[in-house]
Symmetry: C2
Subunit: 341 residues, 2 copies
């Protein structure tokens, strides 16, 4: 089987990880890379992503040039979270007849927020004979795909409650701000109001994906963001939280079906949860026949998990029928073999 | 969408559960039932499976008559564990152009033990335009499908170790005998030798399924069965185990890849594990990048879990391309909606 030709679009922390993984996997061939930051453009991608060797591929700043030159089977898109930004970029790839895998959170189940846009992307992808797919650890795996998979052994599902408790300590100032870390409770609520504190992007997508899989008709999804107020001093390289200040955002979303709350997803994100004896992990509780209680402790790390599933899905996406697809349309994911393994 | 017409073949404990589930699910229609035990034949299936109502469907003893009369989309086959017994029965259904879902353990990945037979079943299914699929909780889910799914977020997989620890206490005399419960250690080893004590049927299938998914080329699968010797008195309705006697079978299987053990599956089955502080559960440990540690405590119950996944897969099997398929070929499983839900 010939190698699949992959272009990496976006070379930030996530995009860099994805590009590295592509070079490590059997059957994949990194043929191009696009970055927007000037200091990366013009250099060998091997240097930019820390491969420790030259690849002969120069980082460019124009996706269309790169597509034209390198004729990829798929573009890995890692540039933004929201459809409003991701869609115009994905459309460029579709117009040039290239499959797209994106880690934009809203693309994991775009029908949730933007039915119209999803229909247009789907129609466009079909008419160009390509597949568009959004994935990631969450949305895309822990709080949706894994839950749906578990219901495969359910005779009846009454309620789904799941939590992903993680530790923001390794992250930089942008994440700290978007989760309200280090703010006062008043500043936190103000940030929620003005949109500068967002919490998790992906609950609506996960809840709609679960509901679609179970054929439940959702009345509404309600989201709630509360400050996690620290009782102790918490410190990281980029944040300091005194007792009484905000260590992160407890973001909860509920899905109502026939006026009853049947899906509750929770994703509290904070720095140093261990200082208050909070154990990080992924927790899924399905009430039904049978009850199922799953935990993954510690949680599956978000960065490498997202990069891995995006790369692991490449062969499936290249083989799939054309259109805008979701995790519900693909075979169970699996790890691609590494070179030399 | 029209309802899918389902015939249940086999009305033992498992088959009865499956038939009941079919009657509870939207989009499925139980149109026939076949039993071999005389006391069930001729009665309304609703009575035989404890539905608490008549269905108008009489239990018959001849599968071909039932297929002829009821024109099913799929036969649910729940009669045996081994391909040598299941295959001739499944071939009858294929010859009559009916899809088959079987809970025969060896059919969960028949290429593992019987490449020739698997090829023949596949060819026959293709030429008759039907799909044949083997499933269940294990093999079929906990120690294979779920493991493979988790590797979807793996950048690299070095080793897989998984355990399913369950409690045999509710089971009857047949299961007690096949796991050696109540025997002396000497009788246990004798039973292993003469084939009367079998342990778990399914390890070879699970290990081959995982290896196929990860594109690992297996050298060999080694199985080992040891007696679980009780330190305390354990008693159930059908068994009594004095200290020093056998409470069950610790069955372990390893898959070697390039002379290295990279898959280890363990399924100790015993009565009253709680009496020696053994917690039942499903445990999966993936060593790699990242490490993943999953537990489901208590374990997903085997009976209802097997019935559920067999029934939940019906729409996928009826829509699939023809041939002999495995869990690796289907979209992620999911629970079918119950009537009135």
């Amino acid at each position: 089987m010939r190698s699949l030709r992959v272009v990496q679009w976006g070379l930030g922390a996530m995009g860099g990880m994805m590009a590295r993984l592509v070079t490590e996997k059997e059957g994949l061939n990194l043929v191009g890379a696009v970055a927007s930051r000037k200091e990366k453009v013009g250099h060998d991608v091997g240097k930019v992503i820390g491969l420790g060797r030259e690849t002969g591929i120069q980082v460019k700043d124009d996706i269309l040039d790169v597509i034209e030159e390198s004729k990829p089977d798929v573009v890995l898109h890692a540039r933004n979270s929201f459809l409003s930004e991701a869609s115009p970029e994905i459309r460029q790839c579709i117009m040039h007849n290239v499959n797209v895998i994106s880690i934009a959170e809203e693309l994991a189940f775009p029908w949730a927020t933007s039915m119209e846009e999803a229909r247009e992307l789907d129609g466009m992808a079909r008419s160009h004979g390509v597949t568009v797919f959004g994935t990631g650890i969450n949305p895309g795996f822990v709080l949706d795909l894994l839950i749906v998979t578990l219901t495969g052994v359910s005779a009846r599902v009454d309620k789904i409650e799941a939590k992903r408790i993680n530790d923001l300590s390794p992250y930089g100032p942008t994440v700290m701000r978007s989760q309200g870390v280090g703010s006062t409770p008043e500043e936190f609520y103000q940030g929620i109001k003005d949109g500068s504190i967002v919490g998790h992007v992906g609950f609506i997508q996960s809840i709609h994906m679960i509901a679609r899989a179970l054929n439940w008709s959702l009345d509404e999804v309600v989201e709630n963001r509360e400050p996690i107020i620290s009782n102790v001093l918490r410190k990281t390289e980029f944040a300091e939280v005194k007792p009484g200040m905000v260590a992160g955002c407890r973001h909860i979303a509920s899905g109502k079906v026939k006026s009853e709350i049947r899906i509750v997803l929770e994703h509290p994100q904070q720095i140093c949860p261990d200082l208050e004896n909070v154990e990080t992990g992924d927790y899924i509780k399905i009430t039904g026949v049978p009850d199922i209680n799953l935990q993954i402790v510690p949680e599956i790390p978000g960065g490498i998990g997202t990069a891995a599933i995006a790369v692991n899905m490449i062969p499936f996406v290249c083989e799939a029928k054309p259109g805008l697809l979701s995790a519900l349309d693909f075979p169970i994911p699996r790890s691609l073999k590494c070179i030399g393994d």
